[in-house]
């Protein structure tokens, strides 16, 4: 059964996706699998080794399990300051 997650997009990913947030139904077991799925769908230019992932507003390892109801953010290379 597919899990429902919320994915929020920022900066270049937001522009490439065309929206800031969406609910996604996925079979992905890990955050890495989910990114590959979305990257294929939306032609994101950034490879995963340039990104970090956050789950429920905390940085998390790429191999973290994706659970129903999770909120995920794929974090592009930061450039504050």
């Amino acid at each position: 059964m597919k899990k429902w997650v919320r994915v929020s997009y920022f900066a270049i990913l937001r522009e490439q996706r065309g929206i800031g947030e969406e609910r996604v139904a996925t079979d992905a077991a890990t955050a890495a699998e989910l990114y590959e799925e979305l990257r294929g769908l939306h032609r994101f230019t950034l490879p995963p080794d340039r990104l970090r992932v956050a789950i429920n507003d905390e940085f998390a390892p790429w191999n973290s399990a994706v659970r129903d109801g999770d909120a995920l953010v794929f974090v592009p290379p930061v450039a504050g300051g």
Binding site: F10, A11, E58, P77, V78, A79, G80
Partner: protein, 154 residues
């Protein structure tokens, strides 16, 4: 200790008052301002975007680390979001300490870690009409660098 995001001008004097301490003989501030050039290109404006919940958490962690590493009495950092013009203050940091060495070192630590770790992104708008997300370029692609109007042409 506070790390904040704001989409309006930074009110430095109010923040300084929050760091007053009778034992603080040194007070160091740093302002990062919007510069008119980057990598040889003429910048005319820029936008900052933040993942606010995690940016504030990570920023607070950096300030706590600074307190653990250096002998300081307090520290604060504010980062702008939204559209900024040349010369605008993008980031403001203040550190209070008993003595100057710790204050300078902690201030340097906070700005370096903020730039490296806090989920804030900068889009520069250049004089030639092109805009780019900084640090997001990929091979064979100017990562968001298509002229505004040419979006969707790929």
């Amino acid at each position: 200790m506070s790390f904040k995001l704001t989409n309006g001008p930074i009110d430095a004097s109010a923040l300084m008052d929050g760091l007053r301490d009778a034992g603080a003989g040194a007070f160091v501030t740093f302002e990062g301002r919007v510069r008119d050039r980057n990598d040889g290109r003429n910048v005319r404006a820029l936008d900052y975007e933040a993942y606010a919940p995690l940016a504030e958490k990570e920023g607070e962690r950096i300030l706590s680390e600074a307190v653990g590493k250096f002998r300081i009495t307090g520290a604060a950092c504010v980062h702008r979001t939204g559209s900024l013009a040349l010369g605008d203050v993008a980031v403001w940091i203040a550190v209070a300490a008993g003595h100057r060495d710790a204050a300078f070192e902690a201030c340097r630590y906070i700005i370096d870690e903020t730039k490296a770790r806090v989920p804030i992104w900068k889009k520069e708008h250049y004089a030639d009409g092109v805009s780019e997300w900084i640090n997001c370029a990929t091979r064979g692609d100017h990562a968001g660098g298509a002229p505004e109007g040419a979006k969707g042409a790929r």
